[in-house]
């Protein structure tokens, strides 16, 4: 059985959105919660665009009328009994998570900057090694590394100050948030915000305002998403082990 999400136990009908292999999603309840699953016949569930959007479509259809804890793509269990056992084993954590995300959605922000030019401009290590043949001495090598470290530190500090400023402008509109600075040299900020549904417009306005005040940055704001970034470890563990061959 393929698991899409854990939800609060709702009497609403399952959405008509088909699951993987066009199988209808089913709800397996346990006390006040339920797991939404569908049968499948695949040996391996590859993370293709089709399957990923199929998974997402089911989760989002569920979001329309119930609180949802999205489960990682590719999570399968052996059958209904296994689902019930998982829900029972992690019941308290799942209930707590459902309470946390009730009425809320996730918005994502990614920011590109042009600060990569300020990064250490000394030759890369591979080039320095290549210069060995032309008689580079050990002292020169370490001095070049020292300068590289210094420039990198200054560059990183610039990035962190700017990322904190952007994030700070948005985080106060959210119930919870996470962020990472410099996932790549050009990706200044990757952040996720758990916000009340009715604050989406205000949030979007703030992002547009940041676009105007920071014209050299590229801002990409997306959502609303199910709260993937805000499900805590206990609930994730409850989502089932992946069968060998499923993708992480």
């Amino acid at each position: 059985m393929y698991i899409y999400a854990i939800t609060d136990h709702s009497r609403a009908a399952m959405p008509a959105t088909p699951g993987l292999e066009d199988a209808p999603p089913l709800s397996i309840p346990y006390r006040e919660i339920a797991a939404v699953v569908s049968a499948h016949s695949m040996e391996k569930i590859a993370p293709t665009q089709t399957y990923l959007w199929c998974h997402e479509a089911v989760v989002e259809a569920l979001m329309a009328d119930r609180t949802v804890l999205p489960v990682r793509f590719g999570t399968v269990v052996s059958g209904e009994a296994a689902v019930q056992a998982l829900l029972a084993a992690h019941y308290d954590g799942l209930v707590a998570n459902l309470k946390r995300v009730c009425g809320r959605v996730e918005l994502g922000l990614r920011t590109l900057w042009d600060g990569v030019e300020g990064r250490a401009s000394t030759p890369g290590r591979s080039e320095q090694v290549a210069q060995r043949g032309s008689g580079m001495d050990g002292r020169s090598y370490l001095l070049a590394r020292l300068e590289e470290e210094r420039q990198t530190q200054v560059w990183r500090q610039r990035a962190e100050v700017l990322a904190a400023e952007l994030h700070g402008s948005l985080a106060h509109l959210a119930v919870e948030s996470t962020y990472q600075v410099l996932m790549t040299p050009r990706m200044l900020l990757v952040a996720a915000y758990l916000i009340e549904r009715d604050r989406m417009t205000v949030f979007q306005r703030m992002v547009n305002a940041l676009k105007i005040t920071h014209p050299t940055l590229d801002l990409l704001c997306t959502g609303p998403w199910p709260p993937y970034s805000f499900v805590t470890a206990g609930a994730v563990a409850a989502s089932g082990k992946q069968r060998e061959g499923a993708y992480a």
């Binding site: 665009q49 089709t50 959007w53 997402e56 479509a57 918005l107 990614r110 590109l112 290590r125 591979s126 320095q128 090694v129 290549a130 060995r132 580079m136 001495d137 050990g138 002292r139 020169s140 090598y141 370490l142 001095l143 590394r145 020292l146 470290e149 990183r156 410099l182 996932m183 790549t184 050009r186 990706m187 990757v190 989406m200 979007q204 992002v207 547009n208 676009k211 590229d218 801002l219 990409l220 704001c221 997306t222 959502g223 998403w225 993708y247 992480a248």
Partner: protein, 120 residues
Amino acid sequence: MPDAQNRQAQKVLCAPNDLQAFATELEQAGRVLPRQINAEPEEVERGLAKLVLTLIELIRQLLERQAVRRMEGGSLSDEEIERLGQTFLKLGARMQELKQAFGLEDEELNLNLGPLGNLL
């Protein structure tokens, strides 16, 4: 895949005109995330070499940074600075040879160290 494209468009709340740059950076970011080791016979040797060389590169960088800090702090003599620098140059050259022997690029040895950023 029009339906998927429509869904993607509906999810974008604010974006620049060109999204390709984001796709490129996300692809690069994805390369440094832990992956399953490919256990296919013809790839397992390369996969293990990648793992071992990544670990060696991590240790090499840690030792280099420690040496640089000690040099900056003045706790190394001129002879020690020269000797350490030469050692790291030789280590670097040997790493290049090993990477070439296994057909690995620098980016393939990159590793996401969480709060510490990427290895390379």
